[in-house]
Amino acid sequence: MNSVKKRKSFKDFLTSDGVAQAVFLIPAYTIFTLLFFIPVLTSVYYSFTDWNGISKETNWVWFKNYAAMFTNPDIFNTIPVTIYYAVLNSVCLIFIAFFVALMLNRKSRITTPLRICFFLPMLVSGIIVGFLFKEIYSPVISDENMGTLNRLLTLVGLKGLTQNWLGNKYTVMIVVVLTGVWNQVGQTALIYLANMQSIPKELYEAATIDGAGYWKQTYHITWKLISPSLRINLILLIINSLKAYDMISLLTGGGPGTATKVINLWIVERSIGGYEVGLGCAMSMVVTIFAFVLVTVTQKLLANRGATE
């Protein structure tokens, strides 16, 4: 047994899989560190200071910002608005995207153009969506000067339904969510679609032989077997809803009053407009932790659902 271990040369070391992987990962890790990890750590640091965004000096204030946050009455207005938006947005997208994915999963001549129609909006940034839909929802200022939606209603004889969609506190959240749905439905549907296409066709054939109709098959096979994508979608939607800022800021600025003032608008308002960067960072930390907890709980619940089924 004279097994002699061959000593690895430096060249071997350089060409080994581990080192090659590390080298390929360096750019990604560098970008991640510079654009995510360091800013997050900086935010954590500033959340414990009284930095106003201008001063070169900061004072360590421990948990003062965290305490101030929970005694601020504004926060109690923004939390229900954020939850309302997040729930409405997530529920609408989960179901609408499911039906869109069902439609796009069928083979027909119009499937490809339809896919383009639904996937294209997700390429448009929130800022542009905000500008675009602000014009669409514009109120009736005069017979010539009105938004596209109101003009459409007028043209089809439904003038009585014309609204100042973004100025009415009872309609504003609905149109904001619908705008978000238009923007994100492609992404959500795409994830469903990928999952749907992996469902074995034999299951549908067997169900058809057993006499199950289209909707029964959709519920008992498609809906039940897309659990993994439902979980991914729900997690992404929760995160995106809690991150919502650009589109809402452009569309309504949080108004009318505080009807659409989600937490991120408040954070930016206090941090930049109110020169309370420390407080804004503290709030961001709380939102991040809340999102993390929510995602973990959702994941656990959906995992249990998957196991039960």
């Binding site: 100025g167 505080t258 930049i272």
Partner: protein, 431 residues
């Protein structure tokens, strides 16, 4: 002969050296070289797209006179403060920069970013009321130099007024008579259009002349907590604007309950669908840009019960000198600020941005709109309080007043609205 040539050569060399020294006095490279800071280069960071050319010209003239070079750099309004803050953090602060008087300034003073301007000579030439709005410290120190006086009032379409034989109102009753006449004009959809953010601020501001006539110290009383937003005077003007005028159809409240409608309102006004429009001086550039029909307009103040009202005027924009500038840079910046605050230079800037000047003796080039409003400036002008964001948010929640079906329900909604505003204000005070 050789000696003479040598002497001539030496004399010529001396002349060249002396000439060079004169030309490059202080290193100005062609500047007038009259300043002890000649040869210094400073930067002016400003947010006026309309005044950029004027500022470049002033900087060139300043260079010719002093030998101090000024880099005039434009920074868009939307990102101006962010740009400035970033540059403060990276130790690349421009020596002079533009600011907005109001709640923006104190954090910069507290952070030690602004140089004290209390000893500047130009102060004695500035309108006292405007100057007082730029003082933030207990000791009365001045950290910003007011450039212009922002104003707000009602613009009226001259053609529509002429067609209906109307002139600017003399008081509130006269104004309401004018609104009735305009309402009867078949070519006018609504007598008044409010424009952007009108619920958040401007409907409220429209009643200020009236309110201040009844309660001259309204702002002070609210600040001291000795009155509420729901006091008798405030309720009366709000009932007039939010209920009475909306009911009579003097304006389309549908256009009032959302933000950023300025350009749409401007089109309605310029097309003659609305005869009067609430505007601030800063809105004039939008009106002028959109004015393709050649509509001419002038302005009058928000009328009060007993008089034509007073122009709402407050310190508009200002210059500040960086506290981080030291030595020659600081001296040069102070010298350039003195130059900018000269009446003739200030007049050029104010003319470019379409605003009134707070500097005595500044004659702004003929502008019919400004001239029409200037006629009212002899009467006491006053600024307006910019309420904190939570109060402004409540100002934007007037939908229930408009949406209520009966007058009683509207009054009840108005009471809730004013109570909410009061609660928001008290919470802010406690905070």
């Amino acid at each position: 002969m050789k000696k003479m040539l040598q002497k001539l050569l030496v004399a010529m060399m001396c002349l060249i050296i002396v000439g060079s020294l004169v030309a490059c006095n202080g290193g100005g490279g062609g500047g007038g070289g009259k300043s002890e800071y000649a040869g210094t280069t400073i930067e002016l960071l400003h947010f006026w797209v309309d005044a950029d050319d004027v500022l470049q010209d002033i900087a060139e003239e300043f260079y010719d006179e002093t030998g101090i070079e000024v880099d005039v750099v434009f920074s868009p309004v939307a990102s101006h403060l962010t740009d400035l803050n970033n540059r403060i953090q990276t130790d690349d602060v421009p020596e002079i920069f533009t600011m907005w008087p109001g709640p923006t300034v104190p954090p910069y003073i507290e952070s030690g970013a602004l140089a004290n301007l209390s000893d500047c000579k130009w102060i004695e030439n500035v309108d006292a009321a405007t100057l007082s709005q730029c003082v933030y410290s207990q000791g009365g120190e001045l950290y910003i130099a007011p450039v212009n006086t922002a104003f707000m009032g009602l613009a009226y379409n001259e053609q529509i007024f002429a067609r209906n034989n109307l002139t600017a109102p003399k008081n509130m009753a006269d104004f309401e008579r004018i609104l009735d006449v305009l309402k009867a004009d078949p070519e006018v959809d609504y007598p008044i259009i409010m424009g952007s953010d009108c619920l958040a601020n401007y409907v409220y501001l429209s009643c200020l002349s009236n309110l201040y006539q009844d309660m001259p110290d309204f702002d002070e009383q609210v600040n001291a907590g000795t009155t509420t937003f729901g006091n008798e005077a405030m309720t009366a003007v709000y009932e007039k604007l939010y209920i009475d005028w909306a009911e009579k159809g003097y304006y389309n409240w549908e256009t009032c309950v959302s933000t950023d409608r300025m350009s749409k309102a401007a089109i309605e006004f310029l097309d003659g669908n609305a005869a009067i429009m609430r505007i601030g001086g800063w809105d004039m550039s939008i009106l002028n840009e959109l004015n393709e029909t050649g509509t001419t307009y002038k302005m009058f103040p928000f009328p009060a019960e007993d008089n034509a009202g007073s122009v709402l005027a407050a310190a508009g924009e200002a210059f500040a000198v960086s506290a981080y500038a030291t030595g020659a840079k600081k001296g040069a910046a102070m010298e350039f600020l003195d130059y900018l605050m000269k009446a003739e230079n200030n007049a050029k800037i104010c003319a470019a941005i379409g605003s009134l000047s707070p500097i005595k003796g500044a004659e702004i080039k003929s502008n019919p709109v400004l001239e029409s409003l200037s006629a009212y400036l002899d009467q006491p002008t006053r600024g307006w309080t910019v309420w904190p964001v939570p109060v402004q948010n409540i100002l934007g929640e007037a939908y229930d007043i408009y949406d209520a079906k009966t007058i009683e329900a509207k009054k009840s909604a108005l009471k809730t609205f004013l109570d909410n505003m009061q609660n928001a204000w008290m919470a802010t005070l406690e905070e």
